[in-house]
């Protein structure tokens, strides 16, 4: 029954999308300056039915209605309430329905909130957005239908994977999708802008908020994913340059570049073609990301169960998108006359875009190169963290310096003076770096530069905050806070990387491992029976030999029966100054346990800085009324 309701709702949305495109096309020709009321109604109905279809799926999960294949494969009667709901979007078909929801909701909101903008522009946006919606609806109905029924109804579901039952993992996809999928609206708006010749400042204003919203949620989504990986996956890291992680980073670079370029477009009415290219590229990158992740073409820790038929469909959709975007862009593209002064804010924003393009291209090459090499020469290589770190990190140094001094410049033209603030900050930065180097440990030249640049950005931002705390200049605070967050993030990641302690060794129960500063005593093992798993819990006494402090850490090995999986739960003690991280795994056919111990300084501050970056973005959204 639920299956029929769900499919019925989807088909209604399909019909409404066709009707919307049709009505909007007709309305384009009329001489009226306002959009017909019926179009608003169509859009509202479309939104309502789409949301209802999603609620239908959620109800299916909550009721453990296994007549739906999707619920059968991804849920279980014993799953806790919250995770039953989260299970809705934690699988391929359900997440596709969430994509469609966001596409539709954004379509409606854009229509409604942009009523001050030109009619043709808004109608074209609606048309293109609905073409995208149709594409996804067909994909859903023909290939990945969450409402497919199964006869006879199985008594119990398969989906009790414990790794997926985690709060951070539950909210991570919706957050990311508002980012990924949110950029669809300005893809459509860009196409519309080209066709209706609605460019410049007005266009920038129409999409500004949407770009910021998608940026904030994308950033937050990535951060939450990293936090989950750190606390749950048991390797003590938070970023692995894994293809799925990289797929979420690609649109992020583009949205960040776009966000900055929009400022120039709005203020100085220039850079329009580049902004259009960015708008088009962002959603294209999102779809490329989805293609890479869901088609099975890549090998990753995060794979959804992959299926090449999905890959073919997404590739087809991607091809149509890229070709139509390129064609329309080339058809309507007009050359712009540039008037950039070297010492101006615009140039520095161009520099930001330059670096963002570099980071984006590097990550893209890193992901795609193995695929290309395999197809063309039949050789398989791996491109992992060392590649990305070596290529990207050196350029983060000049990037941070530009981040600090860029905003100081005025629009159009600035005078020649170098402020004392900058010299003071650089000298302090060098001094602080020397201090760390001398008292805490030596590191490479590159790391020195990273620290100096990061500290410079941090100090400079603090000075900036002090200067701009007045009500008149409060609009500058979000930018300063985000840039400060970035500087802090690089700084803390640098400290964490340089001064982490890591040990990997084998121990039997009762044995003690001594390192330079620590003594790790594998005191005992106890077995605990829990509701759906059996846990082997190790009791470790960690003694800091220098300070004579003692901590107790209890990592676990969990043996689940349904489905049969083994997970390793790290023992993590998070403190202000550092985290202690201990994992234990049994060495097969032996009494030994493989122990990985890490001390990670300032780990929690990495999260704080990253959240600060996002906070700046959200702050700007709420302050938007008071802009210059």
């Amino acid at each position: 029954m639920l299956s029929n309701i769900g499919i019925g709702l989807i088909i209604s949305v399909l019909i409404l999308s066709f009707l919307t495109i049709y009505s909007a096309s007709l309305d384009l020709e009329t001489s009226s300056q306002t959009i017909k009321k019926s179009i608003y109604k169509l859009s509202l109905f479309q939104t309502t039915f789409t949301i209802l279809s999603f609620l239908t799926l959620i109800i299916g999960f909550l009721n453990s209605d296994f007549s739906l294949v999707n619920v059968y494969e991804n849920s279980h009667t014993e799953k806790p309430f919250f995770y039953k709901i989260a299970g809705t979007w934690g699988n391929h078909e359900g997440s596709l329905l969430l994509w469609i929801n966001i596409l539709v909701i954004f379509s409606y909101l854009f229509l409604v909130f942009n009523h001050t903008h030109a009619k043709k522009f808004r109608l074209y946006t609606l048309i293109f957005q609905n073409i995208l919606i149709l594409g996804f609806l067909f994909f859903l109905l023909l290939n990945s239908n969450p409402f497919s029924p199964i006869y006879p109804t199985p008594p119990e579901g398969l989906g009790l994977n414990p790794i997926l039952q985690d709060p951070a993992l539950a909210i991570h996809p919706p957050l990311l999708y508002v980012g990924f999928v949110g950029c669809s609206i300005y893809f459509s708006a860009a196409m519309a802008s080209l066709l209706s010749n609605y460019g410049g400042k007005l266009f920038a204003q129409s999409i500004k908020t949407w770009v910021k919203i998608s940026w904030c949620f994308q950033t937050l989504g990535i951060i939450v994913g990293s936090i989950w990986a750190y606390y749950e996956l048991g390797w003590g890291g938070f970023w692995f340059w894994d293809p799925v992680e990289n797929a979420s980073l690609l649109p992020w670079f583009a949205i960040t570049a776009l966000m900055h370029s929009l400022i120039v477009l709005e203020k100085r009415n220039t850079l329009y073609p580049w902004v259009i290219i960015l708008c088009l590229s962002t959603f294209i990158l999102s779809v490329i990301g989805t293609f890479l992740v869901r088609s099975g073409i890549l090998n990753s820790v995060h794979t959804f169960a992959s299926d090449p038929s999905r890959g073919v469909y997404i590739l087809l959709f991607l091809s149509l998108m890229i070709f139509s975007a390129l064609t329309i862009f080339f058809m309507k593209h007009k050359k712009e006359n540039y008037n950039f002064n070297l010492k101006s804010k615009e140039t520095f924003i161009l520099a930001n875009n330059w670096f963002m393009a570099f980071f984006l291209v590097t990550v893209l090459i890193g992901i795609l190169y193995p695929i290309f090499l395999d197809v063309l020469t039949n050789t398989k290589i791996s491109v992992g963290p060392p590649f990305f770190n070596i290529v990207i990190i050196p350029l983060v140094v000049p990037f941070m310096i530009l981040m600090a001094i860029g905003p100081k410049f005025n629009w159009i033209k600035s005078q020649n003076k170098i402020s004392y603030k900058i010299i003071f900050s650089i000298l302090c930065a060098i001094g602080i770096n020397l201090f760390i180097f001398y008292f805490f440990g030596e590191y490479s030249l590159l790391s020195n530069l990273i620290f100096i640049a990061a500290i410079f950005l941090i100090l400079h931002s603090f000075l900036d905050i002090k200067k701009n705390i007045s009500k008149k200049n409060r609009y500058k605070l979000p930018r300063i806070i985000s840039h400060l967050g970035f500087g802090l993030l690089v700084f803390f990641i640098g400290i964490n990387h340089q001064f982490s302690l890591e040990e990997d060794f084998n121990l039997k129960v009762g044995e003690i491992k001594k390192t330079d500063n620590y003594e790790i005593n594998f005191q005992d093992i106890k077995i605990k029976e829990s509701k759906n798993y059996k846990a082997v819990i190790g009791n470790f006494k960690l003694t800091n030999l220098k300070k004579n402090l003692v901590e107790y850490l209890e990592p676990e090995i969990r043996i689940y029966s349904n489905p049969e999986t083994l997970t390793y739960e790290a023992a993590i003690k998070t403190k202000i100054t550092s985290d202690f991280y201990l994992t234990m795994s049994n060495v097969s056919r032996s009494d030994y346990y493989n122990i990985k111990f890490q001390k990670k300084p300032f780990m929690v501050w990495i999260w704080v800085s990253a959240l600060m970056i996002t906070f700046g973005g959200f702050m700007q959204l709420s302050l938007k009324k008071n802009e210059d």
């Binding site: 048991g234 390797w235 890291g237 692995f240 293809p243 990753s300 820790v301 995060h302 794979t303 006359n337 540039y338 008037n339 950039f340 002064n341 070297l342 140039t347 161009l350 520099a351 330059w354 393009a357 570099f358 291209v361 590097t362 090459i365 890193g366 190169y369 090499l373 020469t377 050789t379 398989k380 290589i381 791996s382 491109v383 992992g384 963290p385 060392p386 590649f387 070596i390 290529v391 350029l395 000298l427 060098i430 001094g431 020397l434 180097f437 001398y438 440990g441 030596e442 590191y443 490479s444 030249l445 020195n448 340089q498 982490s500 890591e502 990997d504 390793y568 060495v587 493989n594 990985k596």
Partner: protein
């Protein structure tokens, strides 16, 4: 006087500069090796049997006095280039390592061109 102070600080800085590693080389090697039976994990992170065996082999090779590059070459000869996360710098991978910087330079040239053109436009 200020200049002298600045010079002194730089002198101190460079004389203290030694590229030393806080982490053991062992862990660095573990992190660069891919676990072949896992879905995207390094030898350092994996709890698999294969990872445990490779760790032993790497320890042995280090004790024999092999450098980390020699260890990588050895393992690549057994398992192919797939096993190292850092792509070796050979003719297959040349494009991989150079293309990003090439694009960066192209981007820089574009900006340079834009500013140069703007200056000319204003001069006219």
């Amino acid at each position: 006087m200020k200049i002298k102070k600045i010079f002194f600080i730089f002198y101190l800085f460079f004389s203290l500069l030694q590229a030393s590693e806080n982490k053991t080389e062992l862990l660095e090697i573990y992190k660069n090796l891919r676990c072949l039976v896992c879905q995207g994990q390094s030898i350092a992170d994996s709890n698999s049997d294969f990872a445990a065996t490779v760790k032993l082999v790497v320890q042995d090779l280090l004790q024999e006095g092999k450098t980390k590059d020699e260890i990588y070459v050895f393992l690549i000869s057994k398992y192919g280039e797939w096993i190292v996360y850092r792509p070796t710098f050979n003719k297959n991978n040349l494009l991989l390592w150079t293309l990003p910087y090439f694009i960066f330079i192209v981007g820089g040239l574009i900006i340079f061109y834009i500013i140069r053109k703007s200056k000319n436009n204003r001069a006219n």
